[in-house]
């Protein structure tokens, strides 16, 4: 029975290794999005090792839990998680964004088994998650759907159509996670188009909302456990407060690293910091 419980005790070590690989794969690709990948990696790790029912050997297993990375540009983090969980060999990470690689610049479900939905156009993933959650309800299945959104992404109107619709269909089997790292391409989210007060807005839309430190693995685990237990018809939102570029001093809170690849010098420096666990 494939489950998430075969997790190694030390998720922290894993996140360190995967942070390093995120830097190295984006360095090798020559472009990509390190900032949002480093902010989302911790929550993806907790989900993939502690919560999601999934089977890397059978990515199309009918009863698996579904995860959609709606902020598709953070796929280096998802690819790292998938490689470490055994969906494909870790060496393949270094083919990111290269001709013929299943590791496209944004996730492509038809090229990489295990990707539930091809994303990259922000704002669509939550609606798709709603559809999946509706299908599970219709079939009386207990698998969950998790959608990971960016904070800038919720500026898209379609997200709010979906936020509005989920309670109507009583989707307590749906978990929306917002990677609230505070940055987007044109600047701080607060300045580009403030989404505050986000938790209040989501509550007003009749979601159950938790705010959590998105880098505290224990806190994330507690929040997901609560969301997983929901049975009252309310869709579950988790606002994960994160740091863009987390783990690399010169990338943290620095919008310049939203969509820039580190050259060798910077990559070496970043990896050293990650490994020293600053």
């Amino acid at each position: 029975m494939p489950t998430a419980t075969s997790a190694p005790a030390d998720l922290k070590t894993l996140t360190t290794q995967m942070r390093r690989d995120i830097i190295r794969m984006i360095e090798a690709a020559g472009n990509g999005h390190p900032g949002g990948s480093l902010s989302v990696i911790d929550l993806l790790t907790v989900l993939y090792w502690k919560f999601l029912k999934h089977d890397p050997k059978r990515p199309d297993w009918e009863d698996r839990d579904r995860l959609i990375l709606s902020k598709g540009h953070a796929c280096p983090a998802l690819y790292a998680v998938m490689a470490y969980r055994g969906y494909f060999p870790k060496e393949q990470l270094m083919t990111l964004r290269k001709l013929g690689s299943p590791l496209q610049g944004h996730p492509d479900r038809l090229r990489l088994p295990g990707i539930e939905f091809s994303t990259g156009s922000l704002g669509q993933g939550l609606s798709v998650g709603l559809g999946m959650a509706c299908a599970a309800k219709l079939d009386k299945k207990d698998w969950k759907t998790v959608v990971v959104l960016g904070d800038g992404e919720v500026q898209e109107g379609q997200c709010w159509e979906a936020f509005m619709a989920a309670p109507k269909f009583k989707l307590d089997n749906l978990v929306a996670v917002v990677d609230y790292n505070g940055g987007q391409i044109d600047g701080p989210v607060k300045e580009v188009m403030d989404i505050e007060p986000l938790t209040d807005k989501l509550r007003a839309f009749n979601w159950e909302v938790q705010a959590v430190d998105g880098h505290d693995l224990a806190a994330l685990e507690k929040a997901f456990a609560k969301a997983w237990a929901a049975k009252d018809g309310r869709p579950q939102a988790i606002v994960a407060n994160t740091v863009k570029g987390k783990g690399v001093s010169f990338m943290e809170h620095n919008i310049a690293w939203h969509g820039n690849a580190p050259k060798k010098d910077d990559a070496d420096k970043a990896v050293k910091e990650i490994e020293n666990g600053r």
Binding site: F117, S118, G131, A135
Partner: protein, 313 residues
């Protein structure tokens, strides 16, 4: 059979299919009374998703349902549904999800409601999407078969339907085939060369037949063909017509740019043929009036089509 809007034929057919196919679910965006899904909704409430006036979310939800084994049929007016083209691009085409987009109220044939409610560019938008199939049936028997096929077919499909009633142009035993242009009308005496072949789709089809009959009465040979599949498009049929006709006339209740008219020109050009093409259809937005008045004003009725066939011969 009495004339029937293709949207009505669609509504009846999905109700029949739903009895046998539990995968079929329907999504609506506050227009179910107009898109004819109310009967389905009443019969199968748990399989019906009313999403409100939020078409983008409807497209995304349909993708999620499709990826979980359902066959979602999502309906709205052609202009509102296909207006969410980027959502359709990613959630339907790029992800190759098995969703069935149903756009009713095609073209100026809707009449009084005017331009903002008229689907006039939807075919052009959908023709540019890889993995998309586009259907536009002309009457009841064709719609029934096209809808049944669409549900069985794996992949995204866009079907474009009329608000206005359509007379039968096919015999009751007609067997519809996807991707094929069928000939609806031939002059009694087969000519060595036709003065024109009209390639019609959707609302204008009966008017094309009327024009061909009028041509015959004047001693001209005009054939009428029906393009119920706009993508994939029957290039071979167009090439055959281009070889045995002095000209081709395309007619559609849609903008000629990117619609059927463009498809016909592409087929002729790509076969290296020298047959002229007259494209009849919209080159502007529409306006408010009765459907009959608009069809006349925008050249989609028999007299205008006859002129398009015979002018400067």
């Amino acid at each position: 059979m009495a004339a029937k809007a293709t949207r009505e034929s669609f509504g009846e057919t999905i109700l029949e299919v739903a009895e046998k196919d539990p995968r079929l679910v329907v999504l609506d965006a506050d227009l179910s009374k107009s898109t004819m899904t109310q009967a389905f909704m009443k019969k199968h409430p748990s399989r019906h998703f009313e999403v409100g006036i939020a078409e983008q979310n409807m497209v995304g939800m349909a993708a999620g349902l499709a990826l979980s084994g359902k066959v979602p049929v999502l309906t709205s007016f052609a202009c509102f549904l296909i207006g969410r083209v980027e959502s359709i691009r990613v959630s339907a085409a790029y992800n190759q999800t098995n969703m069935k987009l149903v756009g009713t109220h095609a073209g100026i044939g809707i009449g009084e409601d005017g331009t903002s409610q008229m689907g006039l560019e939807d075919v052009a938008a959908m023709r540019a999407l890889p993995h998309m199939t586009i259907l536009q049936p002309a009457d009841h028997v064709e719609t029934q078969q096209a809808v049944r096929w669409m549900i069985e077919h794996k992949g995204p499909v866009y079907i474009r339907l009329t608000r206005q009633k359509m007379p039968d142009v096919h015999a009751a035993d007609y067997r519809w085939k996807p991707g094929v242009i069928d000939v609806l009308w031939e002059p009694a005496k087969k000519p060595a060369k036709y003065q024109a072949t009209i390639i019609a789709s959707g609302g204008p089809v009966p008017h094309a037949i009327e024009a061909a009959k009028a041509a015959e009465a004047k001693g001209f040979a005009v054939r009428v063909a029906n393009a119920s599949s706009l993508l994939p498009f029957d290039h071979e049929a167009v090439a055959r017509f281009a070889k045995d006709s002095q000209r081709l006339v395309s007619v559609e209740d849609h903008n000629v740019h990117g619609g059927l008219g463009s498809a016909v020109c592409e087929a002729v050009a790509e076969h290296g043929l020298a047959c002229p093409v007259v494209r009849v259809g919209l080159r502007s937005f529409g306006e408010s009036a009765t459907p009959e008045q608009l069809y006349e004003k925008y050249g989609l009725t028999a007299p205008s089509l006859l002129e398009a066939c015979l002018k400067n011969l």
